[in-house]
């Protein structure tokens, strides 16, 4: 006897809206001289980001990609010019109202851009999607400004005890321990600051702590900051972008440090992507790139409140 679980989790109108959204996205990039590309979903290596776990084949020989970043940068190093991709990506154990272990990502790279130029381009995309009025821009706040405004604390100089006190003052009761300062910053971002961002118009947060650079370049200064940004709309994180790190030696050091963190945390570590590192050694053009969650964008465009409402079949029904 069927309980109805064979049915789609999204209604037909929503699936039609998804179709239209994909058409607008492709038209935007095609008109701007981008090449649409496809890269492998199953690779011999995977991300070593300590906070992202890859799904692997049962024999452990291949990993489902958590983002097409490495392969797309190999295309850039091979001289592709500006490229974009719309694909499904996979992240183990990420499931909830705003997460599905398999989701749709729009990722694009533009040689010659830095992170601010790329934010300008996202402004134009959001105008085409009628998220922003014609020729308007998103709000832009540095990571430090966001913390100052909401919590009156400097995220670059505050220590763990201050961040803990700040979280407690916000009524957050943490069960267990956090092992580093970045985890406390992440907690405040995820629980307090993020949900209040982009309520009127979408908001960019940029120039992250150098310790959260991921694959972005670090701009020297006091403090040094990572040329990275995130886009928030209605309190939901929609996109993450970098002025991309092109230094192969620095990239290798970061990945090795990430592997050590994973091992220390008792996590398995996929092989480091040597093809990606070879591409950086060959020479990645100075570029900026960003990944945007299509399912979340669609959810917000339609005024829905959870991902299952915009997925043909959510994780439970997949």
């Amino acid at each position: 006897m069927s309980d109805g679980s064979w049915r789609p989790s999204a209604d037909l109108e929503t699936l039609k809206a998804r179709h239209r959204l994909l058409a607008v996205l492709r038209a935007f990039f095609n008109a701007r001289g981008y090449l649409e590309v496809e890269t492998p979903q199953l690779s011999q290596s995977g991300t070593v980001d300590p906070n992202i776990n890859s799904l692997a084949l049962a024999d452990g020989s291949r990993y489902l990609h958590s983002s097409p970043e490495f392969a797309m940068k190999r295309l850039l190093a091979a001289g592709s010019g500006p490229i974009y991709q719309i694909c499904r990506v996979f992240r183990e154990d990420e499931s909830g109202r705003l997460h599905n272990p398999e989701f749709s990502l729009l990722e694009w790279y533009r040689p010659g851009f830095d992170h601010h130029a790329l934010m300008n381009e996202i402004d134009s995309l959001l105008c085409d999607l009628q998220v922003l009025p014609e020729s308007k821009s998103c709000q832009r706040l540095s990571y430090a400004e966001a913390f100052q405004q909401r919590l009156d604390i400097d995220p670059h100089v505050a220590d763990m005890a201050q961040l803990r006190g700040c979280a407690e003052a916000q009524g957050i009761v943490l069960q267990g321990e956090l092992c580093d300062k970045d985890a406390w910053l992440d907690l405040l971002m995820a629980e307090v600051i993020g949900p209040g961002l982009g309520l009127e118009q979408p908001c960019f947060i940029y120039d992250y702590p150098a310790s959260q650079a991921a694959l972005s370049r670090i701009r020297p200064g006091d403090p040094p900051v990572a040329e990275r940004f995130e886009l928030y709309w209605h309190g939901v994180e929609l996109a993450n972008g970098f002025h991309e790190l092109c230094d192969a030696a620095e990239q290798r050091r970061r990945m090795q440090a990430d592997v050590q963190k994973r091992l220390a945390a008792g996590l398995v570590s996929p092989p480091v992507d040597e093809y990606f590192l070879q591409a950086l050694e060959q020479g990645l053009p100075d570029c900026a790139g960003v990944a945007l969650g299509i399912d979340r964008l669609l959810m917000l465009l339609l005024g829905k409140s959870s991902l299952p409402e915009v997925l043909s079949f959510d994780w439970r029904r997949a």
Binding site: D49, D93, Q175, A190, E191, E230, N240
Partner: protein, 188 residues
């Protein structure tokens, strides 16, 4: 010791926090773009009934609470304890007053109650939604009134006081909704 990872969190899961059993009411997975993921949960303390919010680092584990709910038959009360029996195994359990709480005033014997146990000890007892009880004391009915619009207090055989229609008399068997404490009907 059984444990749950935050990845297994969902509503209805029973866990131990600070030595007390809790029920997960709501679980939300939260994660900044890149970085540490968290589980923000609303949990209800099964001893006190209080609901609080807690945040867990995703991937952490927490001790499972050995909490079970079973339909058990109420046998009798000796004044200090209320005795229940599993109708299948004939196993008996004694619940003390804090566990029985409000249910005590609705049960007289034989009723099937939902008994929630923690490590085999009763945590709380829920009376059946409807019980049938005899009126032991109420003022005489008022002639002509059949609507029950006004109502009057009536003491039941268990000691519970229920608002009943004016036409109800002592000795009558009534059906009561234990969730609202309201009179439903006469039992013919």
């Amino acid at each position: 010791m059984a444990t749950y990872s935050t990845n297994q969190f969902k509503s209805g899961l029973k866990i131990i926090l600070d030595g007390d059993p809790y029920n997960i009411v709501e679980n939300e997975f939260v994660k900044p773009g890149k970085g540490q993921a968290f589980n923000r949960v609303r949990v209800r303390n099964l001893k006190t009934g209080r609901t609080v919010e807690r945040t867990f680092k995703s991937g952490d584990t927490v001790e499972a609470a050995d909490v079970h709910e079973a339909e058990m038959q109420f046998l009798y009360s000796d004044g200090a304890q209320w005795h229940f029996m599993d109708p299948a195994s004939y196993e008996q359990l004694a619940a003390d007053e804090p566990a029985v709480a409000d249910a005590a005033k609705w049960i007289k014997g034989q009723e099937m109650c939902a008994v929630t146990t923690w490590n085999g000890q009763p945590l709380f007892v829920e009376a059946p939604n409807f019980v049938e009880l005899t009126v032991t004391e109420t003022d005489p009915g008022v002639r002509g009134d059949t609507s029950g619009g006004g109502g009057k207090p009536a003491t039941m055989e268990t000691g519970a006081v229920v608002r009943v229609p004016l036409f109800i008399e002592e000795g009558e068997l009534l059906k009561i909704d234990t969730r609202s404490g309201e009179y439903v009907s006469r039992v013919k």
